[in-house]
Each structure stands twice: as C-alpha cells, then as structure tokens.
C-alpha cells in the first residue's frame, strides 16, 4: 500500500481557471478523499444589491456570470415582477425566452469545447468555438452586446426583434443544427472520446438526488428534472420540448445530455420565432416596489438558478439572495472525485461546467490556531490588517479611510 499524501490544488493553480481550493488525499495516483473550499471569489454582490435600486441591481446581477448573465437577470426580474404584480406582455416573454435559449446554445457549445480541451482534444475546441461565434453574433445583433446582454427590464424587455432578425436566426439555426448533428456523431461514434469519458466521474441516480445535483449533471444520472417543464416561466408553458436525460451517470452521459439539449434548444428557438405574438414588449414598472417577497427559479445552462428577493416598499430591495447552479453541484464533485485517478480531475470538475465566482456568496475566515470563532467589525479588521502588515515592514496606516 503506497503512502498517503495530501496535495493542495488551488486556490491558484495552472489547471484552474478560477480560484477554488481542492485538497486531495492521494494514495499513489488515486484520489481517496477530496475536500473543496470555496470563498476565494466573494464579491459581496448580495450586499451591494441592497444598496442600489432595482434598476441598478438588474445590471449588477447580470454580472454575476459572464456566460449565463441572462439567467441571473431574468431570475431576478421574475421575482421583482411577481412582487410588483406586473404582467409582462407575451412578446416580451417570448423575446426573453429566445435570448435564454440562445444563451444555452452558446454556453453548451462553449462547454463542449472546454471539455474537449480538458481531454486533449483541442480540435473540438476550435470547431465548437468557431460555431459559437454564430450565436454570439446573433446575441450581439438582437441585444446590443455579446455578453451581459442587458435585454431585461423590470416589466419586460428593452429591445424588440425585427422580422429581418427572425429570418437571420432561423437560418443560423439550420447551420448550427447541421454542425451539432456532426458533434453528436463524434460523441457517439468516436472511440477515443467514448473511452476517455466513460466511467469517469460516476454519479449514480441516488447520489445525484441525495447530493442535490442540478441541470445536465443531474439529468445525465437520469434525474428527470428541468425547471422549464416542471415550473414553466417566461414562454416555456407554450412550447413543446423534450427534457433530455441519460443513464450513463458519468462524464460521457453529461456530454450526451448537452449535445442533445442543443438540438432541443434549436427546436425551442424555431417554435418561439414562428409563434411570436405581436404587441408591446414591456409594461412600465414603478420605481418603488411594494413590500413583499418572492422566490424565482430558472433553468440556467448549468442547472437550476434560484433568486430570492425581499422588498420593503422603497426603491432598493431589502434582501437579495442568489443560489447559482454550481453551488448545488459542487458537493457532487467531491463525491465524483473519490476513487478516481488524479489525471481525471480536470475533466470531472469541468463536467459540471463550474462557475465559482457565481457561487461564492459568503466567506468565513478562520484562524485555525484559535479554537474560538468571533465576529470582527470592519474597523477592527482594518486595524488588524494594518498591524499585520506593519509587522512585515509595510505601512498602510496613511492610506485614505474607506
């Protein structure tokens, strides 16, 4: 039996794109135990929301994530609209759903490329990211920006869609469908891919339920769950689509779910564009939102996103709580890493399509030497840090007070 070693991966590590810390206990090449620590990317967004108006929060929350930005902003406005009892016009809802699905397409294509990269298949990365440009251009044209679209407003959407754009999107869907069929072929026929991904990062159906996995991670373990169907929001109630599940329970299954979901997204986008009703795109929202609270759910490309908003009748919310899909999936990662080889770690982590900066909602700073836990006020913390740096020969005490 080889000796056990514990190695840290992160918070800063060449293999990680975002700061997160994995502490791995290894026996030889095998991972015995993985402990994950989040909190290195805490940006204090929830608190910042309380200090800003609903209109400003819309843009702030959109910036929780650069990839599923529409998910967060839609999830938030849905909650606010529920509190304010605003009825969003049908056309507005259709446009919102359209952007949501375009976002899913670009996110899944991005993931497919990243997954290819993690297993050393960079050709796939080049191919999918080239196709992803088609979607990015569509998003830029319909919303005005490639990322952080800013399409939502409280009570609807900010930009209407023209017939010309509809035609263009329809045409692009044909091209993308053609390409995706090719990727499905690769994923189901290419032996190197199948062998590299099969049996890696196994998460059984029961474990997926127990650990609260969401999105494609859960659906690849045959957990038949999708907010779009189970609790329809926006225009999903009027659209026919299949929820893709798979019973491979591993990274291979997650790949299959995502490529097949792409096909469903094209189908949804076509239905939306064919049936988009005429009419206004938004209603006017009051600046002061009446007191109340609401919880909103949204199926982001990575899984279920949840926002909770509490209002108190002023222009600023009293509380905003965000639960990004990665937080729900992260415990499953620790489970999936167990008993796998170290070399499988990048692809196992990548397979949940993690986004750690979206996830970090709170940090606890612990002094491991001291047993007691205590609260430190801002002033004390500042004083403490100045003293600490003084000990290192750096003097910060003259810095402007903030």
């Amino acid at each position: 039996m080889p000796k056990k070693v514990r190695i840290p991966v992160g918070p800063q590590h060449p293999a990680l794109k975002e700061p997160v810390s994995f502490s791995l206990e290894l026996s030889g090449e095998r991972i015995l135990e993985a402990t994950i620590r989040l909190g290195y990317n805490h940006r204090g967004i929830e608190k910042a929301c309380e200090e800003r108006s609903y209109i400003q929060d819309l843009y702030l929350l959109e910036r929780i994530c650069g990839i599923c930005s529409h998910s967060h902003s839609t999830c938030f406005v849905q909650a606010v609209e529920e509190i304010a009892k605003l009825e969003v016009p049908k056309r507005g809802l259709y446009i919102r759903t359209l952007i949501a699905e375009l976002e899913r397409v670009h996110s899944h294509l991005l993931w497919l490329g990243v997954a290819g990269h993690e297993i050393g298949f960079d050709t796939l990365l080049m191919f999918t990211w080239n196709d992803r440009e088609i979607v990015m251009d569509l998003l830029a044209e319909t919303t005005g920006n490639r990322v952080n679209y800013g399409i939502n407003s409280i009570g609807g959407v900010r930009r209407d869609i023209t017939d010309e754009q509809i035609k263009k999107i329809m045409k692009a869907m044909d091209t993308l469908e053609e390409r995706t069929k090719y990727y499905i072929k690769i994923a189901t026929e290419e032996t190197t891919i199948i062998q590299r991904l099969s049996g890696v990062g196994v998460l059984s159906h029961d474990d997926a339920v127990k650990l609260g996995a969401v999105g494609p991670t859960a659906r690849a373990s045959s957990v038949d769950r999708d907010v779009r169907r189970d609790d329809p929001y926006a225009a999903y109630g009027e659209i026919k689509f299949k929820v893709i599940t798979d019973n491979h329970n591993d990274v291979y299954g997650r790949t299959i779910v995502r490529v097949l979901e792409l096909m469903e997204s094209y189908n949804i986008i076509r239905q939306l564009l064919q049936n988009i009703p005429a009419g206004p795109i938004a209603v006017k929202a009051p600046r002061k939102i009446p007191a109340g609270e609401a919880l909103s759910r949204y199926e982001a490309p990575r899984g279920e996103d949840v926002h909770y908003v509490k209002s108190n009748g002023t222009e600023n919310p009293e509380r905003v709580k965000v639960r990004a899909p990665t937080l729900a999936n992260i415990q499953a990662v620790a489970h999936m890493l167990k008993d796998r080889y170290l070399a499988d770690m990048p692809i196992i982590i990548a397979a949940i399509d993690p986004c750690f900066s979206c996830t970090d909602r709170a940090i606890t700073v612990k002094d491991l030497g001291q047993k007691s836990e205590g609260l430190m006020q801002w002033g004390d913390l500042r004083k403490y840090s100045i003293e600490w740096y003084k000990g290192k020969g750096i003097d910060f005490s003259n810095l402007k007070k903030i």
């Binding site: 400003q56 819309l58 044209e141 319909t142 920006n145």
Partner: protein, 131 residues
Amino acid sequence: MKGPGRMLQLILESILKKPSTVSYPKFKEAPLKSLRGAIAFIPENCIGCKICMKDCPAGAIIITKIGEKVFQAEIDLSKCIYCAQCVDSCPKKALEYTTQFELAALDKNKLKVTTSGKLQTTTQNETPKSE
C-alpha cells in the same frame, strides 16, 4: 466514411476555407448597428432632471448646471458599462448610444468625456484612440 478518409474531407474543407478572423486593425468590420457603444449627450434636450445619474448602475455620468438652462455631462468611459440604461431613463432624449467601441486610452484622464451645452457650442474631448 471511417477513419482517415473522414479526416481527408475535413482537411480539404479547411484548406479551402478563409480564416474566420480579420486582421485588425488593418481591416475593420463595421460595428453592428445595434451595438451599445459610447454614450453621446445632446445638451439642447437636457432639462437637468438627473434621472440618468440616479439610474446609472456604474455612477459613470455626472450632469452639472453650468448656466441658465445649460447643462454639462461628464461621462467616465472607464466606469461606464455601456448598458444604455441612461438612454432609456432620460425623459427628454438627451442621451443616445453610438456604435463607437474603440475607446481605449493610455491616459486615464482622456477617458472622461465632457460635453457642455454652452451657447450651442459643443466641446468634446478628442475621442480617445488607442495609442
């Protein structure tokens, strides 16, 4: 087709394809009409209500009164997130978005664009170009 044969077709396709990117800055693709770029201020329309300042998520716009019914806007391009919320919020159409996106500058001060409405003359800092 299986194996190397399938690859051959792809190779031929790729050889004949043009690159997907253009050689910037020698060639420039025209920006999309819908692009939300730098914000332009039209001083004649402004009534100084400052709703734009209130709604701006980034605190990037400052409206000051410089004379009787004459206002000046200072937009900090380094703070602006190009959301165009100010354009939506303005009740008098005194702000509009342009498709200008090449806004990088080495000097931070050049990123502050001031437009004032004095006697119908507009003084605008030279548009920062990448140096």
